[in-house]
Symmetry: D3
Subunit: 73 residues, 6 copies
Amino acid sequence: MPVITVKLAKGRTVEQKQQFVEVVTNEAVKKLNVKEEWVTVIFDEYERENWASSGELHSLKFGEGFGMKGIEK
Amino acid sequence: MPVITVKLAKGRTVEQKQQFVEVVTNEAVKKLNVKEEWVTVIFDEYERENWASSGELHSLKFGEGFGMKGIEK
Amino acid sequence: MPVITVKLAKGRTVEQKQQFVEVVTNEAVKKLNVKEEWVTVIFDEYERENWASSGELHSLKFGEGFGMKGIEK
Amino acid sequence: MPVITVKLAKGRTVEQKQQFVEVVTNEAVKKLNVKEEWVTVIFDEYERENWASSGELHSLKFGEGFGMKGIEK
Amino acid sequence: MPVITVKLAKGRTVEQKQQFVEVVTNEAVKKLNVKEEWVTVIFDEYERENWASSGELHSLKFGEGFGMKGIEK
Amino acid sequence: MPVITVKLAKGRTVEQKQQFVEVVTNEAVKKLNVKEEWVTVIFDEYERENWASSGELHSLKFGEGFGMKGIEK
């Protein structure tokens, strides 16, 4: 405890994920009153073809990619 | 809200998934009283080797594929 | 297959959930090419205190309730 | 995107959860290159009777409670 | 690793859950080549009103209860 | 019911997974009082780059692989 699952589009680098893990783990220790070794963080990565919002698959809405890519059109 | 996750075998086309997303999103709006832009639909796709029922992996029970394929044997 | 999980705020009636289940199950049969008896639908219900978007818990942002309640303020 | 699910024992206050949500959301924006309004954080809370590690339910191992409570025995 | 989540109807006793956890943890150690202290087992318990198969909520199909109760009708 | 999800590192063989499924399904039947045909077991497999504990991605902590590989350093 806790097990933290992050569902997001595929594409982040190992560095991005490691930096995010460090901050989230530290915050869990400080704010949720747990030991560092208890904290598990899991990334579930998705193709945009497998994620939809407002009734549309993101691959159709934004094209390939992740994060801000294609969003700004 | 809501976040709807669909766990199923790998193999459906983008068209199949898009059609399913449209109907599920519309129903959520009508029946569950939410706004379209609140609805997220996520597909978790599996190889048959990673899904078992009645104590047997589906790859052993039905062979490769998805949906009705191999089921009718 | 498939297993469909619907995560949403607590408060819908049995009737609302049953109507939603019927349509989602039928669509899975028609669009995703599966048998009705294969389809499982699971509702995970949440207090607004346990759901946050844009960095704020919904109980703080919208007060108690679900769906459109408190959203229109 | 992203949807972040935090599975932990029941017992944290609204303030603890709100503080954790703020930091995790900010980090997602900075480190994972997403917009604040895209970030959903969901808390799944558990009785110790429904969480086991090393083959033992935590209610049997640590008694009732959460976090450090009972762990130090 | 591994994190094993068991989604089932509400109603099992602590003893039933503890016995199940012991066997599943031992099997993970033996068959999946992991250490006992790495294994987490989590129970997600549901009212029958929040679980549907073949297009019908189990509370409507089988009444209240869990496991074999109401199934034999 | 029940739906059992096993989240673990990628790499086990079909045989390892099948053996684990058989025991877990039998135990669910015996200990949780359900029918064999009700039991679904799903494997979610992860690269070590997508799993972190104690604030560090397992690919950085243990290198590539799964189970005991790299752990003994």
